[in-house]
Amino acid sequence: MSVLPHHRRHLAVGAALTALVLTGCGALGGASDSASSGELSMWTEWSGGYQASADALFAEFEEKNPDIAVAHRAIGNEDFFTAVRTGLSGNTPPDVIQFEGYQQTRDFAGAGQLLDVTDIWEDVKDQYLLSDSLVSACEVDGKVYCLPWSLSTVNQVFYDPTLLEQAGVEPPTTMEELVAAGETLKDAGITPIALGAKDGWPANHWFNVFVGHRCGYDVVYQAINQDGAAWTDDCFVQAATDLENLASQGMFNEGVASSDYDAMTALFLSGRTAMMNTGQWFVSSWTDSPPPFDVGIVPFPAWSDAAFPNVIQGTVGHTIGISSQTDHEEDAKALLRYFTTPEAGRIWAEGGNLSPIDGVTDQYGTDAIKQVFEAFTSAEAFLPFLENELPPAVGEDALYNGAAAVAAGNLTGQEWMQQVQAAAEAAAG
């Protein structure tokens, strides 16, 4: 015989169901919850080729700090900024955040979301190469809100030696040689260059390099700041036209505008294209599953008439900061300090990545990454990724979309720069 009256039984069932649902909701709390003491949460873009290095880093840190466990969440590059933004605005950020510095530092620090770590930077800056220029990725109004962790550069062209040999061409040392090699490769039935411009930034990397060579560091920053130069100035239009010309000369594969980065690298690694430009992160991506050929690397060549051939694209790619909302400030600072050590830098370099810590990449980097590093350190000046210094409407919309359209042959370089300048003027208000 039932204890409860009939209607109250149904109320109890309904209440139990609701409680179950609410419990389920609670259990779905994100990785940003630092629920247990001694546990830090950290979000990064260190998936794919970075994963092995990331695992080794956290393992070593936890071994040295047995009271601290790191809950690491790796988020894909395309969605990373959205996830971090959502975490910050939803008051559920991780304790420690890896991000890409520059405009992101200004955005996050401007919103009061990052801890001032100037004191830590002052303690460790002498361990870094080029510390005075690197810190610009993390500095806002004289205070430092993150520490540089990894260097990035797209100042290299990867090539398949077997395909070049098959066509009888040498790795190019100038852009003219690259174009000539491309023509010979085409005659031999080989697609010269892999490019997947669906997301815009792989095509924009070409422009990023050309614009440094054509315009130089100072003029590029004048255009970025809309103070003394405009994107429609001759050198920018020339750089954009350089990309347009490569497209019109048939240097790229079919389907440039619909192929993404993964398709681009698949084309190259499967031996269907002879050359590819992308960042140094590509080196760590083939460590676990090497391609069927020894990937060659040459520094990104310059046009013979380039005014600034030694101004390269190179930047702090990854920075690490601490959320101002962390409840574990001391532990988070311990983790941050760990990332400044040569030991951490060694793990990163051994994984085929560029560490800004002095001496580490030279000594411990893979042969491929050492080649990239050599070109990096001999440059006259470094330009960051342009979109990291521009408002999203200019960088991620006008630059990215235009780069993809130019690379696909649907827009001229001149038209592209007009769109970028219009977006820059609109963003400047």
């Binding site: 069932v13 649902v21 933004r85 955005d107 401007g110 669906k198 192929s259 999203p392």
Partner: protein
């Protein structure tokens, strides 16, 4: 001998131990079991909707609520001069009309074919329904690969069957990308709509159709004068659902084209998403979503009215 029973006015005659009227108890029971669903409905739909409406009147970068500023109708005024916004509206309307019409026509055609004692009808019904259970992200990834000019099989297949003139960059060509999205969108859910129409066909009284045939009506006349008119409410529902699905399309486009190339497949949901989550314009992105909501609501009202008219005509 007569037995008198005293009955007080206003009190229903009840047998001892009888329960309350069933309707009142059923209403309370319904509320209890609806509680979890209502919780989700209010918590994950109504409250976010109200939040979005509020944010549409603000300027906010989305990092901290301290930075939120009320700006009145500025975001809606900004739309007037936003070329990409108007392109997105156009693309949404094209998708709604093209995809909804195609889904409805294909679903109706297949429902009628399968209604005619075709062999293996249930097997075909299952096969046509299968795309609807595949996740939109998976659908987008697979179609992107299949349509890739360098890695896909569609172009080589067209070459092999002598249709080389049709090959191209399906998702990278500004002229082809949106029609390609329409095809994928139709493929994904036409089976679901077909299932709705098959169920409605089963509800048409057999004797009506039988007597039409006895009176000498051809198959075409039977469908034209009996089946289709009786299916009008169901067709209306299918068209409404298909239209709403196409209006709120997001995942397919985000995975396949991100709204490109050069905004050629940009729709209100993707443009609003970019504004809110990439361009740090949460207020403007919210305003775009409010416009999308209003357009979807208007479509629903129009269709419900049209449906009622059709039902009244049938009656």
């Amino acid at each position: 001998m007569t037995t008198h029973i005293d009955v007080q006015p206003g009190i229903a005659l009840q047998r001892p131990g009888a329960r309350r009227p069933p309707q009142r108890r059923d209403g309370r029971l319904a509320l209890v079991f609806l509680a979890p669903a209502l919780f989700f409905y209010i918590g994950f739909l109504i409250i976010p909707l109200i939040g979005t409406l509020f944010l549409s009147f603000t300027d906010w970068e989305g990092f901290t609520f301290d930075q939120l500023r009320m700006t009145g109708l500025d975001n809606y005024r900004q739309m007037a001069g936003d070329d990409v916004f108007w392109a997105a509206v156009r693309h949404n309307l094209i998708l709604v009309v093209a995809a909804a019409v195609l889904k409805t026509v294909i679903a109706l055609a297949l429902a009628i074919i399968l209604d005619n004692n075709v062999r293996f009808a249930r097997f075909f019904q299952t096969v046509y329904l299968m795309p609807a259970v595949v996740s939109l992200v998976v659908t987008g990834v697979v179609f992107s690969l299949a349509l890739s000019p360098t890695l896909g099989f569609v172009n080589p297949l067209l070459d092999a069957i002598g249709l080389s003139s049709l090959t191209g960059d399906w998702l990278g060509d500004t002229g082809r990308a949106l029609p390609t999205i329409v095809v994928v969108e139709v493929w994904h859910t036409f089976g679901l709509h077909m299932t709705i129409l098959i169920a409605s066909l089963a509800g048409i009284p057999g004797e009506l159709r039988e007597s039409a045939r006895v009176d000498g009506a051809t198959t075409w006349q039977e469908y034209r004068h009996i089946v289709i008119p009786m299916l009008r409410p169901a067709i209306g529902v299918v068209f409404l659902l298909a239209g709403i699905e196409s209006f709120k399309i997001f995942a397919t486009i985000y995975v396949m084209t991100r709204g490109g190339p050069s905004h050629a497949t940009e729709v209100l949901s993707t443009w609003g998403f970019f504004q809110a989550f990439s361009a740090n314009n949460v207020g403007y992105g919210s305003a775009i979503m409010v416009v999308l909501l209003l357009l979807t609501f208007a479509l629903s009202v129009l269709q419900v009215r049209s449906n009622r008219r059709a039902q009244n005509d049938l009656a």
